[in-house]
Symmetry: C2
């Protein structure tokens, strides 16, 4: 398997976001690397290298063909038809994430959700079927779910992560304000808002040149 860096994957996913927007908004069929670069926070040279790596080349006269490039990126990032994700923790943040996320990604959808509050389970919440966390392991395993989002309080997050890993989950997006400890081979993104906002506020005041 080709080893490819996180930053590069993030850039390629960003290119797709920009291309999808352009494809919808404009009548343009082609885009140049410098245009894609200026819309996605990369350099034109980086854009060309990244797209060459996924096997797509543009023409010097017309640039990249938008629809063809979108297909190449899709084949590279998420070649499978659809992927169903799980979310654990149906508080305000969990519900907002489901509402916000579903329908916006071309291939991913949050379908199965969990909570430990009996009033929130065995229902349809924001279009998703909700279950009790006691059934987490069994349902995740039976549905072959690979990726999950954690939006439970920090006191419960590690235990939920352990159960997810045990059930076969390989990728976790963690919004709880703790650093999860997981075995090697499991991919975790910690997205604690408090840390992030404290960091932004720090750099707003201490204007280091990056």
């Amino acid at each position: 398997m080709i080893k490819i860096s996180e930053k590069k994957i993030e850039r390629i996913i960003n290119y797709r976001r920009v291309l999808l927007r352009l494809d919808k908004q404009m009548r343009k069929t082609h885009i140049f690397s410098h245009q894609l670069a200026s819309n996605s926070g990369a350099s034109p040279a980086q854009v060309r290298r990244d797209l060459m790596e996924i096997g797509y080349t543009g023409s010097p006269a017309h640039g990249y063909e938008i629809k063809g490039l979108l297909k190449s990126i899709g084949d590279f990032i998420d070649p499978d038809a659809k992927e169903e994700l799980a979310l654990i923790g149906l508080g305000n943040l969990g519900r907002a994430i489901i509402d916000y996320f579903n329908g916006q990604s071309s291939k991913l959808e949050i379908v199965t959700v969990f909570d430990n509050n009996p009033d929130k389970v065995n229902r349809v919440v924001a279009g998703c079927r909700s279950y009790h966390v006691k059934d987490l392991k069994e349902i995740i395993r039976n549905n072959n779910i690979n990726t999950a989002v954690i939006t439970v309080p920090s006191s419960e997050a590690q235990q939920i992560a352990d159960t997810l890993v045990d059930a076969g989950v390989k990728g976790i997006l963690n919004y709880a304000p703790i650093i999860l400890s997981v075995p090697e081979g499991i991919y975790v993104e910690n997205r604690d808002m408090i840390t992030t906002l404290e960091k932004v506020s720090y750099f707003a005041k201490n204007n280091n040149n990056k």
Copy 2:
């Protein structure tokens, strides 16, 4: 001014999160670097280097004194008494962020919020006073707000960012799924969930060793 990397600031903020939790939960007064490391996803050597840099040293026999260390980190990260933040975009995500965030950070609070929907302005929303975005520049400037959170749709995000920068904002946490373009000296964190979740899903399937 000392130039300090983003990663280091993020680690120091994470140490504080871990220390605050330990300070609340346990009767312990001291912590060793390896304990702080294992709870915050850093190496013990990194912890020691980071804390030395902010001018705090532990004792080989007892480790670091938790309350003293918390004070040193606070003096370094946010020496000011309180900081008031603004949020623009009172959809589900914006409200969830306010609810989730306020009360959780020691120094930061979202106080002033904006929307372009007349039904959502001149009210108290999740404890914050809400205003129309047409008054964004004036209110941000009059209140000396340094840091703002953007939760508007992507079609409006760049214009909001331009106005914020114009009004003197130096740090932006952007949840809209576009890469903002800002002048040099302005710090932006793009935290688009769609990109993040697509990335987690990619690495869940393509298990690169990092």
